[in-house]
Amino acid sequence: MLVITCPYCQEAREEEEFSYAGEAYIARPAVPEEVDDATWGDYVFHRKNPRGWHWEQWQHVAGCRKVFAVKRHTVSYEIAGSWTLADGKALYEEEQA
């Protein structure tokens, strides 16, 4: 059972209060009409699916209902932290740079 902290409610709660909402920070092509089918298909369907650290979205469905970002390891299931989407994005972009 994962124990997740909601950055809005500021409380650690069991996974059952949350619902998983997929990979975080997938950039939508800025002008969809201008990209080719392969680029659009990549955006819609292809995923990083890493074996290791993963930036993902969770929704606090049984609480404040807000969506936020979590950095979690996909083998050990260890959670490095959770942030609002905006705060997480700054960290995520720093990591990617």
Binding site: D37, R47, N49
Partner: protein, 417 residues
Amino acid sequence: MANRYSLWSLIKNGLKHHESWQPAWKSPQPKKQYDVIIVGGGGHGLATAYYLAKEHGIKNVAVLEKGYLGGGNTARNTTIIRSNYLWDEAAHLYEHGLKLWEGLSQDLNFNVMFSQRGVMNVGHTLQDMRDIERRANANLLNGVDAVVMTPQEIKDMVPLIDISHRTRYPIMGASFQPRGGVARHDAVAWGFARGASELGVDIIEQCEVTGLIIEGGRIKGVNTSRGDIMADRVGCVAAGNSSVLAKMAGLRLPLESHPLQAFVSESMKPCIDTVVMSNAVHGYVSQSDKGELVIGAGIDSYLGYGQRGSPHVIEHTAAAIIEMFPSFSRVRMNRQWGGIVDVSPDACPIISKTRIKGLYFNCGWGTGGFKATPGSGNVFAHTIAHDDPHPLNSAFSLDRFATGHLIDEHGAAAVAH
């Protein structure tokens, strides 16, 4: 065959106190070069190697497995076999697999204990029943056997099931595929390994692929924990770890790896002689030859490579089973485990060439690939041998995620296994 199994060989070896049986497959040292390398020694990888050697005469083949044979999903699944898929492409592919199952023990001279005890998919709502009627009709048009059953017919076949109106989601009917059933998972891996080894394939365990050697857009070989091994053609059949291998080639796949759990009970007297699956309450159950109830349900929602899931999923599964079989509430569960399944957006596999010449992927079978083991290996071997897909898997290429020609089996194909 060095070690042909028969009644006669059983008697002969019995007289020698069973001390002179030979190992079922050889464990050679890896060579420097092969015609084809298969990455992943699960059922699908071993079947691919077997059919490459048997049907395409390509025998200089290595199967590289990072752990031991059948330590992945092959030996972690709940062994349900059926072919009652909704869409033509999927129905034809899985039916090809089912036909191969029907002759597999004889073909391999290895008892895979394929038991056609039938698979029942029960419906609990009017919409379930409409979907069941539609799917059964689609199946019949594709030459796949299908019957629609009333609650009373279900009860006659499975006396322990609760068809009363006391339940929260009363059972309104079911579809039934008489030719579906179960098989012994380990035996499938061992049988294909033995068959392939006999035809000259090298099966190399404890050999992890850590990199793909690519030059000028062509595959040249693989880096492994036991040194580099060269080949002009490499087929990746790594189930839950497919995205990890794709990354080594700079490719992205439309896959997400999730834990999927299953559990078995203590052994009991025979009480259920078919497979019962429910999409709506989400659980399924069959009884193994040892008498254990074999139970499973849905994936854990999050990405995970940990081969374990969360306990609340077990609780939901148990609740679903008890909803259908109240008498099972006193049965004790013995063991629980998880496997990593590679789920694709349309719940259909990817059996495909890639933009790297000579590199092929067979993945995305998700929660339901065991049933396809022989069929998957058979068409993938064709794809590799001809550098061109078999007619049965041409619709299952990676391109479909750019063209939009998805084969949407999510929800269409009863429960997901």
